[in-house]
Symmetry: C2
Subunit: 194 residues, 2 copies
DNA sequence: CGTCTATTTGAATGTACTCAAAAGCGGTGG
DNA sequence: CCACCGCTTTTGAGTACATTCAAATAGACG
């Protein structure tokens, strides 16, 4: 059932009595999201943290020339949000939409704040979650400073092995920070070089 | 005194009785760090979280061609660490050293874990700290995907206004991800274009 | 004053983008 | 089943952005 994936993740970090688990689940809203449907658009305030149970979402920004830059994919088991907007409840810069028909769990900022007070164990869970996200962005930033486009592509394949086969290449290009034409070129050059 | 800056930051997030504060302070080690002295090198395990009280540190990676890529500067009031290494207690990829003679507070991973158990309020403090770091890396990653070198330079000036005047330009170049020659070129072109 | 490092300048090169057009690949409706 | 549509991928030519390398200039400091 929809909550299981999230509850399993939580139980790896903290142990939760049944009543607390029930309370937590009562705060979650299940939402079905159709392909291309938005969960957030630029200038909106991110009111909920989003946990993906089925399908896949993406978070991206659009630059002043109208080009998309994908920051993150969120397959099942991943959280996604414009974190600055969620934290400070101010307008964000990200768009979040569904790549495939998806199902997500929503936890509103106000319920989350309440949750921290009622069940301090969730402070720990979200601390650990944030630390890991922080750590992975730190390394990703290092990669973006020090690796070539091809190396970033290989990293991507390692990070999202399940996605690489079902995503259009242009979305991968957007994630690693090159144009679709250029990614196509370096991948084909590589093959013929064998 | 050395602890005040950190205690002030903490008190903005959580309120701490005197005895808990004393316990926390007892876990901290003050360390003086000379310019160019290392606090961490590649392949080492980050055993402590580092909080800067005086001077300035930097965290950077060295790529396979021997070039430095600065990930972060840490002036007073900032924490710095190879977060993945600290979290998982495994070898990291960052170097951390002092740009100027500095003073830092060290909180070891084991003491920190103990602290979370003894004083749950610190779960909250470090959750908030991690969330903010996460949020700022998220936006920085968007910037690196969507902004030009000159725009990233302007962002840097906003982020580290106190540093921009005392850092050698080549270190700023390293942070924004271009060569010192190129940064010099775009800054001078800009001026003559007036 | 000399030494060390940072900055600037310029030429040649490489990396990545733009634009345009062609080719491929599902899906859908007739 | 085929023809067509929309979207992705490929290809190529021309251009812009950014690096490399080398050398000259400028600043900081003992």
């Amino acid at each position: 059932m929809s909550y299981q994936l999230l509850l399993d993740n939580i139980s790896k970090c903290i142990s939760l009595p049944k009543d607390e688990e029930d309370y937590f689940v009562s705060l979650l809203k299940i939402k079905k999201v159709k392909r291309k449907q938005f969960l957030l658009q630029e200038e909106e305030v991110q009111k909920q943290a989003i946990f993906v149970t089925e399908g896949c979402l993406r978070g991206y920004a659009i630059d002043k020339n109208g080009f998309e830059h994908i920051l993150q994919f969120a397959p099942p088991g991943w959280w996604i949000a414009d974190m600055n907007s969620l934290l400070n409840q101010e307008p964000g810069i990200l768009y979040i939409d569904a790549i495939f028909n998806s199902e997500v769990l929503l936890l509103s900022k106000t319920d989350q704040d309440e949750l921290f007070i009622r069940i301090p164990g969730f402070e720990r869970f979200f601390r650990i979650l944030s630390e890991r996200s922080f750590a992975s962005y730190q390394y990703r930033m290092v990669d973006s400073l020090s690796l070539s486009a091809l190396e970033r592509y290989h990293n991507f394949c390692k990070l999202y092995p399940s996605l690489i086969e079902c995503l259009p290449q242009k979305q991968v290009a957007s994630y690693i920070g090159v144009t679709p034409e250029f990614l196509s070129a370096i991948l084909n050059k590589k093959i013929s070089a064998k």
